[in-house]
Subunit: 399 residues, 2 copies
């Protein structure tokens, strides 16, 4: 039982600091039913989660299965503070109301994965404001400048002459202090957070709270391209609030290699089950596309429902396998003749006219299911089904 | 009138930043009687002032003569904070009661030089505590790490691998913020404070209070040795609370060269008057010792009274010129035969028996006005006048 739990907990992790402590906590849970705390911090400014974030959330769910109380920490304290460049010191980035709205939105999303009865949503402004000015100054006595400058990004910026605001030295201390206040037993985060996660251990020692948290780091999930990390700004993400059809289609678009990575980090299938799928593909008894569809169904069902996931699959099959137009597409109207590139932008099929022209050049644009190649085409009055790539459609009526 | 005031203000200064602003403030005072503020910060842990500190105080007194309201700032906020090495983060260095006691002691000393009706004694804990944790973090957004590391001492320590606590980056910001809160027009300090003094200008600009303080820096006063800076730990100081005889004698002990330096920085004589003294010594109409006695009288009278200063001079003359024993000396008793070196320590004439033995070797020790050279001498029962050097006496009774 303990070994199985440890195997699930260690699955897909990039690094664990003090795994002995984790074993002890689990042992105490199995022996005496004793619970323990696992902390994870979230940014209060970006409540739109994507699958990259759910890698952590699913690990937290595993911990919940084995006795953990999750400390879901929203780092709202720093959101009260202005521009770290110091140019607008009176401007606050987020109001209290906005933070609470974001928190509500977080909860709606994360409780699709986490068990709300074993999750405490906490805001660090609560205890950091109580630190006061003197508590803040005390906090800064616990760490030195040279060691802070050893953090990878600081080191690079300092050496390249890029400005580092002194406030940026405070943020890791605050994150660490959260672990002091919350008396966390374990903290989990991405590998890019290693320095800050270890700060929690350091400060728990400095403040002598009688424990030092273990640190469990998850790898950064690759985006749909399989190369860069999943992020909104790179537009290679699957959002937790994406529509079922989008979600299903995006999973289907990934490479077979990335599929196995997603299975490891995102599926709730056990490692044994995944191994069987791999063997099936290798010995030819399973088609990789079927395995990918199953993953897409699992993920879509998690954030919507089994029925909606199945409907998304049907819709996908209809569009792709039969080259049909989807049953529901957005409709737009133009009151005058319109240039094709502008039409693609207005119908939200291309982000810009220059991208639209590239799409046409590359043969990715169809009108009424016919490929076009005239970038200068003007659309006169009539109705058009516009299509970019395989999955983006719009109906345009020109008056 | 303005020119005379400026001349007095600039006298002995090491550097002035934005002297145009000082001229404007003085002009407004002479034209419209408009007052302005001059800030000076003092350490709450060390209320025993010596003449090194009075260089600043006398400059403040000059400003008071010309319309300034003095902001006598006691930096008690940081005294609330523990050890900057972070080893004892819960220990506070000074209690509120101690800070207030020290402040009382400060007042007793500084109002011998400053006009109390034109002086506001303020404690920065008052407004810095109000900053709270978020105000502190905001403060740290206003400055960057690289520029902080340019401060001479930080630069040296960073390069040599000596630890710098992050809290040490906060102190200059707090000092600067004091100038924001107090809306100081001018701040004065020692040349060693240049970085921190300029921080006041920087932060007044960042917080957009509509003014930037001028900065007036005084040189660091040399101690009695004429080489190292006056300080308690080097034991080359004249304390503001020194007894009249000590004070007078210490001034008389300095070199002629140092005497002129002290005249410039410590005397209330005008520059013209000092010039006349110099000419008198040069043309032989004045003996340097007379000039030094006048300085010793002036300084002793400032912290005690004219009568006590004159009495100290008489006593000094009695001891030195006539080689007599002073009229009042401390008396000690030993209940058994005592080794001379130990006797000198017990009677507070030598700091240690090893120093006492060196004093004897160098012929600096007399018993009953007779020089001795036996380091092993034992004093049996009887009464002894012990003497080390020219000015240190004690009476010892051995039973």
């Amino acid at each position: 039982m303990l070994q199985e739990a440890l195997r699930e907990i260690k699955r897909g992790t990039a690094e664990i600091i003090d795994s002995q402590n984790i074993e002890k906590l689990l042992q105490a849970y199995f022996d005496e039913g004793k619970t323990y705390t696992v902390k994870a911090g979230f940014d209060p400014t970006a409540p739109d989660l994507h699958l990259g974030h759910t890698v952590l959330l699913q690990k937290l769910a595993i911990f919940q299965k084995y006795g953990a109380k999750i400390q879901f920490l929203i780092g709202d304290f720093t959101a009260q503070i202005g521009d770290p460049s110091g140019k607008n010191i009176t401007r606050k980035t987020l109001s209290k109301t906005e933070v609470l709205e974001n928190a509500k939105s977080y909860k709606e999303q994360v409780f699709k994965i986490l068990d709300s009865s074993k999750t405490e949503v906490v805001f660090n402004s609560e205890w950091i404001n109580l630190l006061g000015a003197s508590g803040m100054l005390t906090l800064t006595t616990t760490f030195n400048v040279a060691r802070m400058l050893e953090r990878d990004d600081f080191d690079k910026r300092y050496k390249s002459g890029t400005s580092i605001s002194i406030s940026e030295f405070i943020y890791p201390l605050l994150q660490g202090y959260d672990s002091v206040h919350l008396e966390s037993d374990i903290e989990i985060g991405g590998t890019d957070q290693k320095f800050n996660l270890l700060m929690g251990r350091h400060l728990q020692r400095a403040y002598e709270i009688g424990k030092e948290q273990s640190v469990l780091m998850m790898p950064i999930l690759e985006g749909l391209d399989g190369v860069q990390k999943m992020s909104k700004s790179l537009n290679n993400y699957i959002g937790v609030t994406d529509e079922p059809n989008d979600m299903f289609g995006k999973v289907l678009s990934i490479s077979d290699e990335l599929m196995w990575r997603y299975y490891e980090l995102l599926s709730t299938k056990t490692l044994d089950e995944i191994q069987k799928l791999k063997e099936g593909v290798e010995n030819g008894s399973l088609h990789p596309k079927t395995v990918k569809e199953n993953l897409a169904l699992e993920i879509t069902a998690r954030f919507h429902s089994v029925d909606l996931a199945k409907a998304a699959k049907d819709e996908f099959d209809k569009v792709h396998s039969n080259n049909q137009i989807p049953s529901e597409i957005d409709e737009y109207t133009s009151d005058e003749e319109i240039w094709i590139a502008k039409a693609l932008v207005d119908c939200k099929l291309s982000p810009s006219t220059s991208q639209a022209r590239r799409d046409i050049k590359q043969g990715a644009v169809k009108i009424n299911q016919e490929k076009i190649n005239d970038e200068q085409l003007q659309l006169g009055s009539g109705e058009y089904i516009l299509q970019v790539g395989k999955r983006k459609f719009a109906k345009l009526k020109v008056n």
